[in-house]
Symmetry: C2
Subunit: 225 residues, 2 copies
Amino acid sequence: MVEPKMSQPLSSSVGDYLKAVWGLAGPGVAAPKYLSSRLSVSSASVSEMLRRLQELGLVEYERYRGASLTEEGRAEALRLVRRHRLIETFLLEHLGYPWEEVHEEAERLEHAVSDNFTERVAQLLGHPDRDPHGAPIPGADGTLAREDSRPLSGASVGDRVRILRVGREDTPALTHLQDRGLVPGRVLRVEEVRGLDGVVTVEDEDGVSHALGGVLAASVLVRGL
Amino acid sequence: MVEPKMSQPLSSSVGDYLKAVWGLAGPGVAAPKYLSSRLSVSSASVSEMLRRLQELGLVEYERYRGASLTEEGRAEALRLVRRHRLIETFLLEHLGYPWEEVHEEAERLEHAVSDNFTERVAQLLGHPDRDPHGAPIPGADGTLAREDSRPLSGASVGDRVRILRVGREDTPALTHLQDRGLVPGRVLRVEEVRGLDGVVTVEDEDGVSHALGGVLAASVLVRGL
DNA sequence: ATCGTATTTTAGGCAAACCTAGAAAATTTT
DNA sequence: AAAATTTTCTAGGTTTGCCTAAAATACGAT
């Protein structure tokens, strides 16, 4: 397969790579392919950058295998994630941003902002440990709260669960869920789980039923009650 | 004279040049020398950048002469100044930044922020038309309020004046003045103006006298009452 | 196990900003 | 007005990050 031609000359840079490696890999190994699509960058750029990140000691990288974070890299990634989530929270709660604009703005801001700024924002927000999507905000000391959540898609009929967190940054889904009041904290009862298409039907606290497609259900993280 | 060696590989970029040209030149012509020191960049870089800015139609540039802003360049510069001043105001009033840290943080932020962000901040602040130093904030439409102010250093004994604005971004002076309550809005009576060293002595509303060195007095802009 | 396809890497380039060194123009001094 | 000095410009380099094209490796299917 011929590699598709890239268009925009946008800049990503070290931090974004770290966040991306952290993103889906967690403790595991991120494939260049994944990073390439995640960062909208050619795989050639990924190779090159991974080599550099390794030299910087932020990543462990084996050619043709992929990369995983070193302790230092993980710390740096968490620092950025903290920034990102605090900034998002701030944009939503203090500047009245709509969901769909938050992520992009935060993405740009987090590169410009100092730790000083970040901590002042944290203070302004009352040192939250979750952002509005329910995603945990790493502590200033690099701690990340463990969360024992499972995707709603794996629930069984009759389960009563509380929404801990919704999806990643994909806007349309977020908006859809928010419109239905399916936000972190909400308690649901699972009415039906269809095996074929993965559609999950739930009833909320007000007795209203909602049917969620498989992908959506998988991006809603819950904890049993 | 041999050109001094530069050290830090910091980045400045188009916007900073525009602001710098606007800075002291206003409608006039900014000399490369001035830009070089203002931006902490070698004069070689200035030459190169001015050529680029001219190609972009933001600046009128004649080699060995200097550069002045085109209409478009001026608009762009004002947009950045607006951002900068709004962000500074926000940092001071909402995040509790101390004076000495504001400028640097704002300088970095103004490159990352969108117009959307800027206008939301403006709204949060109640659309101020002056920043905390008393500097006018250009309007979203590119308007800049005229101010008929004169430097305090040019006042005569006996004058009663109101402080409209203090200095530029040089921190030590700002702190000094603020400690003495010499901030925008304050009303003063000029007690003495010494010709030799330019020291101006004023009495404030509480009857306290302050002696200001020539440079300081020149950076306090006032309007007669 | 091998062939074909998909993924990754290498090689070679480009653009933005900045730098140093040294040449050219302007300005100031004698 | 010529010399000396200062300022500005030109030339040639560096770094960062990204790209395309083509070579190398891995993987999946027969």
